[in-house]
Symmetry: C2
Subunit: 211 residues, 2 copies
């Protein structure tokens, strides 16, 4: 029951019966950083829980533009793999590991069945929906109401919180992609932030000083 134990560590709310059931029915996968977990338009047959590592969820339109939505940390579940199960290809969502990760894959039938059998699973699913919805709303807010400089700050803060480190290893190009902007714009805005003492710019990473 090594597997069940490590689940319980990251998902403290789960009943023992549930974690044991998961040991039987779910798949446990080790996935290296940079792997695409969900490709846009893909048919999804199982839902995903993050046991360890970090997964980025983002949106892609047809023309190669992408747009950062949120991160999934250990203990998080993917609301999308719960909703998109019907195979509606309208949702062009992509997910990628940004760190080496350990993922639990739960088949959709089980996910459905457990809703009645395990109260903790039900609460987890509802909480997942709620949390993702909330994060999505915050993302929407920042695009709808804020300028690029504010969005950039918001983006960096989010990364800081998620990574728990003041050093954010990311290039200007990558930020530009995730905010659907262009590298030059991001470079210039970052420079302004650096002048105001908010960040320190290094090659390959950005250091948060005061946000």
């Amino acid at each position: 029951m090594v597997f069940a134990e490590s689940i319980q560590k990251k998902f403290p709310g789960f009943e023992t019966a549930l974690t044991e059931q998961m040991e039987l029915d779910a798949k446990f996968r080790q996935i290296p950083a940079g792997t695409e977990l969900i490709r846009p338009g893909q048919f999804i047959r199982s839902t995903m829980l993050v046991l360890d590592g970090l997964v980025k969820v983002y949106r892609e339109d047809g023309e190669g533009n992408e747009f950062f939505m949120y991160y999934l940390k250990p203990g998080d579940g993917c609301a999308l793999s719960m909703t998109c199960m019907v195979g509606q290809e309208t949702s062009n969502i992509a997910a990628k590991t940004v760190q080496d990760s350990e993922i639990i894959m739960v088949p959709l039938e089980k996910m459905d069945a457990w809703m009645n059998q395990y109260k903790s699973w039900y609460h987890f699913v509802v909480k997942t929906y709620r949390d993702r919805f909330e994060e999505l709303l915050q993302t929407l807010d920042s695009v709808a109401f804020r300028n690029m400089d504010e969005r950039l700050e918001f983006y960096l803060k989010r990364h800081y919180k998620t990574l728990g480190s003041k050093i954010i290893p990311i290039t200007h190009q990558e930020i530009a992609q995730e905010l659907n902007s262009s590298r030059e714009v991001i470079s210039r805005l970052l420079k302004k932030m650096a002048e105001r003492g908010k960040v320190k710019l290094n090659r390959y990473n950005i250091e948060i000083l005061d946000l």
Copy 2:
């Protein structure tokens, strides 16, 4: 059982046992057009189903800007009143009737209890989450990837589909607000669309010709 019957008409999936239970535990309210159902930051104690009419759900930031999210039609449920129940005031969401409406209010405890008791309720809630999530993603898409002209088209199409009428009774000012733009911009873009034969502009309303 007049109430239960009218529920069944708009929510064909619901079991009879459920609709009868709703007759006992839910409140039925007639609400005139233009009424605010949810004020930003408000604490929510019950979830909302739309029996008749039309409800607009939108986002408000602190500075009087608003932003259209989606409509709730008869047969729809409000995912937000399901998620925001915890009373997190971060989500500044507002909902307003745009037509005279009939709303069913389900207390949150019941909504929770019914999940286990009625399979059709469970499916309804999950479907509601899924649908709202999807709509929210589409909205996000249009802000993130599209220019104002495309967003305007998308907005008009959505209204056309929701209202089922080619005549959309709305002012330029109102559109500007919901897209978080300005009246002049909307006027100019509408004019261009009119020149291309896509719409016909009238005072107080816009007629869809070819979208």
